[in-house]
Symmetry: C2
Subunit: 228 residues, 2 copies
């Protein structure tokens, strides 16, 4: 005799990170339009359709709810406590995503979507268990950049070294000696030094750099691990 399993709904949620050197790390939140938690800020997300992959569901929901398209997406964790949604049993597969400055800035300007960026140091009260999810995402991102070159997903294609440096300082929450950091990072051999210089800054203009994805994958294939 077949046992009848009551329905459990499955959703996806996404913690989207953006970065600006002078503002630090921000996340994209939406204001809930319905109960429960009507008017409270929440991580964007929604129900998974029966014939789409989880990643597809995330991308689709992000597009629908915030108008944003992300350039990096990775699964974070699945949250399934029976009472995490007061209405019914919902299991949520959470992802975290990264966007580059151009996307971040466009969507910071127009708030027609009802979506807003919040600095991770100044977060509002969040719906459901989203505070916990967000904290886990931040922790994961902090950790991830130490052994995989995902930081570039938060920077422009071409960037001055100081921006990469500042990103790591921001995420690690501590000062890192500029010269030692540069020495170590360059020794990894995954940065391409460009001819162009960074104009418009205050002091001496520095060279621009670019992440060399091919080189990185070559090294990875050889078993050489990235670590910073």
């Amino acid at each position: 005799m077949a046992k009848e399993y009551p329905r459990i709904d499955i959703t996806v949620d996404a913690v989207v990170f953006g970065y600006k050197p002078d503002e630090g790390i921000s996340v994209l939140l939406i204001k809930r339009k319905k109960d429960p938690f009507k008017g409270t800020w929440a991580i964007p997300g929604g129900f998974v359709e029966v014939d789409e992959s989880l990643e597809h569901a995330v991308s689709r929901e992000l597009k629908e709810e915030t108008g944003i398209e992300v350039n990096y997406l990775e699964q974070l964790y699945t949250f399934g406590e029976p009472k995490r949604d007061p209405r019914k049993r919902i299991v949520s597969v959470a992802y975290y995503a990264l966007v580059k400055p151009d996307i971040y800035e466009v969507h910071a300007a127009d708030d027609a979507e009802g979506a807003e960026w919040f600095n991770i140091e100044k977060l509002p009260k969040l719906a459901f268990d989203h505070k916990y999810i967000l904290e886990m995402a931040i922790f994961r991102l902090r950790n991830k950049i130490s052994y995989e070159p995902v930081g570039f997903e938060l920077l422009d294609k071409h960037f001055p070294f100081s921006e990469l440096h500042k990103l790591y300082e921001t995420l690690y929450g501590k000062e890192i000696d500029r010269r030692n950091f540069k020495k170590k990072f360059l020794s990894l051999g995954i940065l391409k030094e460009l001819k162009e210089k960074n104009s418009g800054g205050k002091g001496r203009p520095g060279l621009l750099y670019q992440f060399d994805k091919d080189k990185y994958f070559q090294l990875k294939k050889k078993g050489i691990v990235f670590e910073i």
Copy 2:
């Protein structure tokens, strides 16, 4: 107008690891009794009930299908490709678990349950996408022991240092200098040296050690990170 979401079922799966110094790492598999993949080996698992947590579902299914109770359980990843199960859409939250040698040995002897241990180097053909899940679990375990003291969950409460050493060599798949490894591990300060000696071995009997959980959490709270 409320949109009707077709049903997606949610299951949990568990990759259970066991260890014996002379046999290496093994995983617990069950032989499927029903189609699809009838007669093929698979990772134990099953449907989540509507009022139980995901962890509870894993523990319950493991007990039902293999008779085993694990001492360490952690979420691995959620697999949700639309076609991963030929019958219908199933999203599976995968876990990995560790058992101590006594449990491992008991269940290696009696195979009444239809569950069997397989060395991870000699795996049979697996159902669904379970090969992929298993590979990810192995990768994760290998990685995990490098920054969290989970190795003890595969050893007896008291163990000779050589067993810890051999465990790391097995998981890393390479030789590690015995003396340097011991020096480094002891310097972490999370092992308690016991008075007892390891009897019955071949050469000089070594002292037994025990994982000092309290010390570990003290250090962790201070922000001191375990790394081996």
